[in-house]
């Protein structure tokens, strides 16, 4: 025993990573218990402390595995794979309570302190050099964990934004059947290339489905009509025409009309109406239908 201790005192570990890995396996239970009291675990697993301890054990196991591979600095180590989902759930739960990413990161960093204390307590007789090598390896490992948490949290956010963008594309472009053979799309918001593509596709599909003779594009909700938006509109009008239907652009406000003129856009080939009602009236008349009042006295009554 004495011999072993002497050896330990003068030896610099050849692989501090695997030594940290062995330490984590030995102290798995104590560390999981200590971590369960840290804010990151305590506030996420509020129902039962056992759950927090179990989650802590899983993280300790993953870290031990990464350290065992000798790759304490590598966030891409396969050892992190099993905990990635759990870590992202924890980070997301903390973010939902209003914590900034840097605060979450600080909470992950707080896990280093108990681990560090346990490690140093294990090496009372080791040389300063040895202790330093081991604590450095542990610090790097915990830094890598911090990086992994941030990475997963960020990619979660990106995935959410992508999902919402797709949802918005579909939500924002309903095609409405106004009458037999007349469909309309109320456009709202920014008409960029991706959205105008969706508008064109859904409109052309419904022209076929509804056997529409008239398609109305209402741009009341489009705040800015610049040359790119106009180009998208004209392409849609041309495509609708190719399908054998007629396209009417409605909802051109006075300010937009003046701007289009100054911009030099030529919408001469496009049928335009000031309001959706005008466009519907135009289409109905062209279809041979007309809206008349039921009672002869109705006109005076209003």
């Amino acid at each position: 025993m004495a011999e072993h201790e002497t050896a330990a005192r003068h030896r610099t570990p050849e692989n501090p990573g695997s030594e940290v890995g062995a330490f984590l396996r030995r102290r798995r239970e104590q560390l999981a218990q200590r971590w369960a009291d840290e804010p990151l675990f305590r506030t996420v697993f509020t129902v039962a402390r056992d759950e927090a301890v179990e989650a802590g054990r899983v993280v300790v196991d993953a870290l031990a595995q990464v350290a065992g591979h000798g790759r304490v600095e590598d966030p891409a180590d396969p050892g992190f794979t099993v905990v990635r989902e759990q870590l992202s759930r924890m980070a997301a739960a903390r973010a939902r309570t209003g914590l900034t990413p840097s605060r979450v990161s600080t909470e992950v960093d707080a896990l280093r302190v108990p681990a560090d204390e346990l490690l140093v307590a294990e090496l009372p007789d080791a040389s300063a050099e040895h202790v330093r090598a081991c604590t450095t390896a542990l610090t790097v490992l915990m830094g890598t964990l911090r990086l992994v948490v941030m990475e997963t949290a960020l990619s979660e956010g990106e995935a959410l934004i992508d999902r919402q963008r797709l949802q918005l594309l579909e939500v924002a472009t309903p095609v409405i059947r106004l009458w037999d053979g007349i469909v309309a799309v109320p456009l709202i918001g920014t008409l960029d290339s991706a959205r105008s593509q969706v508008v064109m596709e859904t409109l052309l599909e419904s022209v076929v489905d509804q056997q529409a003779r008239f398609a109305i594009l209402d741009i009341t909700g489009v705040p800015t009509v610049d040359s790119l938006v106009a180009q998208h509109l004209m392409k849609t009008v041309a495509a609708v025409r190719l399908m054998g239907a007629e396209c009417v652009v409605s909802g051109i406000r006075p300010a937009i009309a003046q701007t289009i003129v100054h911009l030099g856009l030529d919408l001469g080939t496009v049928i335009t109406r000031a309001s959706l009602a005008d466009a519907l009236g135009y289409a109905l008349r062209r279809l041979g239908a007309d809206i008349v009042r039921a009672a002869p006295g109705g006109a005076q009554a209003r």
Binding site: D226, S227, L228, P254, A255, Q258, L263, G264, L265
Partner: protein, 147 residues
């Protein structure tokens, strides 16, 4: 230019489609605050949209600087779009309607010039392009928040 009304108000990056939306919103808000009428607001926003898209598509990204200016009688909004892109070799041609080096309608630059009161362009091939536009309110600035 009166010293009180002058000053850099905002500097916005133009790096993505999303930045174009931000530029439009900022110009709309700033021009409304200065008391621009709805038509003038729409014209300036549209010009800003065209120029910001040019900065992004042809200049490879850049930034816009929005400055509130005043000449004592009326207020104005000055927008300076700058990029470090390839530059425009033939300005005369680029400003003419229907000419484009890309796939657009070729109305952006010439159209923007017609939508604002003052227009200046400075481009050096290989160095970049700077476009400065200014529009003025018809009357003296109204108090903030008023209609």
């Amino acid at each position: 230019m009166s010293a009180a009304a002058a000053g850099v108000e905002a500097r916005l990056p133009i790096r993505s489609d999303l930045d174009l939306v931000r530029v439009r919103q900022h110009v709309r808000q700033a021009s409304a605050t200065l008391g621009f009428g709805l038509v003038e607001q729409t014209k300036l926003v549209t010009a800003a949209s065209e120029l910001a898209r040019n900065t992004l598509v042809y200049g490879g990204g850049g930034e816009v600087e929005a400055t509130m200016v005043g000449d004592g009688r009326r207020a104005g909004l000055r927008l300076t779009f700058s990029d470090r892109g390839p530059g425009i070799p033939d300005l005369e041609r680029a400003l003419s309607d229907g000419y484009t080096s890309g796939v657009g309608l070729g109305l952006g630059l010439g159209g923007a010039r017609r939508l604002v009161h003052e227009f200046a362009i400075d481009s050096t091939p290989g160095v970049g392009t700077t476009v400065t536009v200014t529009s003025w309110t018809a009357r003296a600035p109204r108090p903030r928040g008023g209609f």
